[in-house]
Each structure stands twice: as C-alpha cells, then as structure tokens.
C-alpha cells in the first residue's frame, strides 16, 4: 500500500511547483494591470486625507 503514500508525496511536490508559478503570475498580473494603477494610487494617498467622518449616503 505504499503506492498511495508515494503518489500523494509526488503530487504534493509537483503540484506545489506549478501552483507556485501560477499564483505568482496571477498576483503579478493583478499588481501591474494598468487599469489598477489609478485605484492603487488613490488608495495609497486617500488615507492621508483628514476628512475624519464616516461617509453617509
């Protein structure tokens, strides 16, 4: 019955690598997606604003 154990270990090792690469690509794409730049800029600066009231409406 060692087959299942070996199989699982093999899967873990190989899948882990693909998963790592895939996820990195997704994250990089998200971070560098041109359309995302404006909201990022805005978010980074918005916290410095001092309009200290909740928004209601």
């Amino acid at each position: 019955m060692t087959i299942t154990h070996d199989l699982l270990v093999w899967f873990s090792k190989s899948f882990g690598l693909f998963y790592l690469i895939g996820l990195s690509l997704i994250v990089l794409a998200y971070a560098y997606w041109p359309a995302n730049q404006k909201p990022f800029e805005h978010a980074a600066n918005a916290i410095l604003d001092d309009d200290d009231k909740p928004y209601r409406g």
């Binding site: 270990v9 873990s12 090792k13 882990g16 790592l20 996820l23 994250v27 990089l28 998200y30 971070a31 560098y32 909201p39 990022f40 800029e41 805005h42 978010a43 980074a44 600066n45 918005a46 916290i47 410095l48 001092d50 309009d51 200290d52 009231k53 909740p54 928004y55 209601r56």
Partner: protein, 551 residues
C-alpha cells in the same frame, strides 16, 4: 459605555450575558471537582457583573442619531488600555521567568509559581493579551478610517473585545492551575478554544460588515493584512485544537492527532501563528500608521500587495523547519526549508517598502520618537526574517534548534518588531483618539524608546551568544573522539547570559511601564481638558505631524 448602545443592543447584551452566566453555572456544577468548575465560576461572576452594569445603564437615554456622523472609537480606546495592561503583566512575568532560569529557588514550593506554569502565562500574555488586543483595537480604528464607514453596530465590537479578554484570562489562570494542552501557543483547553471560535467569528463578520459599507471601491491594503490575520488564525486554531475532552465536566482533553501528524499540525499552526498573528496583523498596522505618521503615502503600494500574497502563500509551507532532523519525513523538511528561504523575498520587500516610505522624512524620524519606534520595528522585522530564513536551513538549524538562539530569534521579532510597531501605533493613536495635541510627555516617549531599544539589544545579544555557545558545546568532540562537554557544563556556561537577558528584560519592562503611565496621564489630562474651558497644551514639546485625524 452602556449609554452608547441602543435599546435593542442593551437587550441583546443582556441576553448574551444571561447565556454566558448559564454556561458558567453549568461548567461550575459539571466540573465541581475540576479546574473547569473554577473557570465556570469565573465566567459566571464575570457575566453577573456585566449584567449589573448593563442593568444600571439600561434606562439611560439612547444614543442620538448624530452618532452616525462619527466613528465609533470607544472600543478602540478600551482595547488600547487593555493591551497596555497585558503588556505590563505579561512582560513582568516574562522577566520573572527569566530570573527563574538564573535563580531557580524562587518558586516558594508552590506549584503555580514554577517555570513550566508561568512560562505560558508569559507567552500567551504577550502574544494574545498584548498583541491581540492591540491588533483588534487598531483594526477597528483602521477599518473604519480606510472604509470611511462607521462600525455597523455598537454591540458586536464590545462582544469581540470582552469575549477575547475573557479568553485571555481563562487561558492565563488556567496555566496557573495546570490546565494546558501543551501545544505551544495553543495551550488553552477545549472549552476556551470553543469560546474563542465564537468570538472570532463575530470579529470576522464585524469586519466584513464594515468593509461592505465602505465608500471606496478599492479595499486599502491594511485591511487585507488584518483580514488574513483573522481568517487564517481561525483556520489554524480550529484544526490544531481538534481534541476529545475526557468528559463534559473536565478541563482535560486529548488531541485528535498523535506523533508525527500532531507535530506537523502543531508547527503548521505554530509557524503560521507567527506569520498571521505576529506578522500579518502587525504589517496591516504598519501600513496604516507609518504613512499616516510620516505624512507620506506608502513607497510602493504595488509591492505591498505583491508581498501580501507572497507572505500568505509562502508561510503556509514553512512550518516543517521546526522539525528538521526529526522523525518527520525528510521531503517535508526540505519543502519547509525551501519555502522558508523564499519567504525572505516578500519579507524584505515589506521591510524595504516601510523604510523607503520614510525616505524624505528622516528629519521627522530624528525628532519624533513615535515614528522612530516604527522605523526600528521595520528594521527588526527585516533582521528577524533574515535570521529566520537562515535558521531554517537544515545544517544551521542543526546547531540552533533546541538552543537559546531560537529564543533570541523569537525576541528579536517579538520585542524589536511586534512590540515596537505596537508602541508606535499606540502612541500615534492615543492623542488622535482622546483628542489631544500629543502625548502627556514627549520626554517619556523618548525614554520608553531608548529603554526598549537597549532592552531588545541586550536580550538578543545575550541569547545569540548563549545559544551559539550551547549549540557548539553540545557537538564538540575531544581528541579521543568522545563528546567534550556534559550537559551540565553547557548549563553552567549559560548562567551569565541568563542574568544579562533578565536585565535586558528589566529595561524593556520599565519602558512598558513608563509607556502605560504616559498613556494613562494623557487620558486623564484629556478628560480634565474637556471640563476646563481653556486647556493648557503648552507642555507638549514635540512636533506633531500635520495629519491628525479626529481633531
């Protein structure tokens, strides 16, 4: 405080307290000849006191509709004070156990006073009591500000804070009575664990509800880090604490896992407690308070997002570096080592991002001890993650594991990073929250800073030395090919370092006590200032950053 709740929330509070009192009673009766009974009584007393408090304020006028025009900050204020109380208590216990390792006679022949029972009071007290309260308090503050939304109700934040502190008290008193699961950083027994799950789910839902009311479409990155903290800690906590109690009337339970599986589950938990409790949450804190205090946006918002996913992803695999050369299969060890080394990348990106944010604001760092706390925290974050990745390499770990080097690494992270960023964030928010121009005494903040820094450096250097000496002594052979030193030889060599560490601890503790005093005086003068027509702010000598929300 009850006056801030609406009528229906007061009723809700009464119902919750009633349920809690009944639970406490059941525990007290069911576990009458067991520590569980003591805890039941404790829970019941707390619930009854709470009930009286609510009843006393029950007929107070309801809060006006205009409350919705401001953020709800009373829970944050409570959480900050609670964090400081825990800081002082738990660090005092930490220093006490540090002295115990140099002078082991100081246990008065009492079970509760021995090293093994007090040590988890220290670790849980600093991590959960101090760190946890600080995280919850600041997360309430940050999520409201960054979402431009008030907390959705007034009851659930209180449930989270009181419930959480009840958990901490049950944990700490339990250790003194000998109630522990023995799993590091997950010592509380099954009933405390269940209670924490209830509190934590409420916390999570509260966070989601606040985010859902936000004005901005984009969620500010601090919230991602806080969210990861909440979610992953929940996941880890539930899995690692799966256990079968011996009966409903007993505090004792047996872990569902055994041996290798238990070890891997425990260190998957333990390492990610470091990652998501002691790192992710505090990074969220840093990404809000540091730019705010420096008056500059994060150096690279993009990098903060990339490193967020890097940290969330890599940390999960790294737990097995706690089990190098053990009976854990070797492929798991190698995997853990590889990912631990890769983990350095997002860690240093975060630390670098923080320090680059200060670029152009160095004069503020020089003049403002609060900002300096945050800067030093970022430096120590970089340092301890480098050290961690290094220690995760198998041959290095062969030397460092089981020695004081690990303890040195822990406290480089805990004192230098976790405690410093927290003190910085607390000093930044106290004047904002209590509507003051600055802290009661800028000089005392300065004193706290230098005491903390000196304490950390003494502590960490003492432990690096002792750890490496210990590790080397254990593996040194003499010419005839036998081990050169007995275990006791290495123990004797530790003595001076244990004293040095304990002295470093005194510095750090003194700093925390001064900080507590300073915060307390700021709060007191604030309430005096409110009653006086013309408050006197002349005592404040420090340059206040241009940005001061809440004023």
């Amino acid at each position: 405080m009850i006056g801030e709740l609406t009528k229906s929330e007061r009723q809700g509070a009464l119902l919750i307290l009633l349920a809690l009192a009944v639970t406490g009673l059941a525990m007290a009766v069911g576990g009458s000849n067991d520590p569980l009974g003591t805890h039941g009584t404790l829970v019941m007393v707390v619930a009854i006191v709470g009930t009286f408090a609510v009843i006393t304020g029950y007929y107070a006028p309801e809060p006006p509709e205009s409350r919705l025009d401001s953020y709800y900050d009373t829970p944050t204020k409570f959480g900050i004070v609670a964090a400081m109380v825990w800081a002082v208590i738990a660090m005092a216990v930490g220093d006490w156990v540090a002295w115990l390792l140099a002078f082991p006679e100081w246990t008065f022949d009492a079970a509760w006073a021995s090293f093994g029972r007090l040590r988890p009071v220290h670790t849980s007290g600093v991590i959960f009591g101090f760190g946890g309260n600080a995280l919850i308090a600041t997360s309430f503050y940050v999520m409201q500000r960054t979402s431009r939304a008030r907390l959705p109700d007034q009851l659930s934040p209180w449930f989270v804070l009181f419930g959480y502190n009840l958990f901490c008290v049950i944990a700490a008193t339990g250790y003194l009575m000998g109630v522990t699961q023995s799993k590091e950083y997950a010592e509380p027994e099954w009933y405390a664990d269940i209670w924490l799950v209830i509190v934590w789910v409420t916390y999570f839902v509260l966070y989601l509800r606040t985010l859902n009311r936000r004005k901005e479409p984009h969620i500010y990155v601090s919230n991602w880090y806080y969210m990861a903290f909440i979610l992953v800690v929940a996941m880890l906590h539930i899995v690692n604490n799966l256990a079968v109690p011996i009966s409903w009337g007993s505090a004792k339970s047996y872990s569902l896992f055994a041996g290798v599986q238990d070890a891997m589950t425990e260190w998957w938990y333990g390492h990610n407690a470091v990652a998501f409790f002691l790192t992710s949450g505090f990074l969220g804190m840093m990404y809000y308070y540091m730019p705010k205090r420096a008056g500059r946006p994060i150096y690279s918002y993009r990098m903060s997002i990339i490193s967020f996913w890097g940290i969330t992803f890599f940390y999960m695999w790294a737990g097995s570096h706690h089990l190098h050369y053990t009976a854990l299969p070797q492929w798991v060890q190698s995997l853990g080592m590889t990912f631990s080394v890769m983990l350095l990348v997002p860690s240093w990106v975060s630390a670098g991002n923080a320090l680059m944010t200060l670029n152009g604001a160095w004069h503020k760092v020089r003049d403002d001890a609060v900002l300096r706390f945050m800067m030093v925290a970022a430096v120590f974050y970089g340092l301890s993650t480098f050290e961690g990745s290094f220690m995760a390499i198998r041959p290095v770990n062969a030397l460092s594991h089981y020695t004081d080097w690990t303890v040195g690494h822990v406290h480089a992270g805990a004192l230098g990073w976790v405690a410093m960023i927290t003190f910085g964030a607390i000093y930044a928010s106290v004047p904002w929250l209590w509507k003051r121009d600055g802290m009661y005494s800028a000089k005392l903040v300065e004193a706290h800073f230098w005491l903390s820094l000196a304490g950390t450096i003494i502590y960490v250097f003492a432990m690096w030395n002792s750890g490496i000496i210990q590790g080397l002594m254990w593996r040194t052979y003499n010419e005839s090919g036998t081990l050169a030193y007995s275990f006791v030889d290495s123990l004797i060599a530790m003595h001076p370092y244990y004293i040095a560490r304990a002295i470093g601890g005194v510095f750090f503790l003194l700093g925390a006590i001064i900080g507590f005093y300073n915060i307390w005086m700021t709060i007191r003068t604030a309430s005096q200032a409110q009653s006086q027509a013309e408050p006197d702010y002349s005592a404040v000598g420090i340059e206040i950053p241009a940005v001061q929300p809440g004023r």
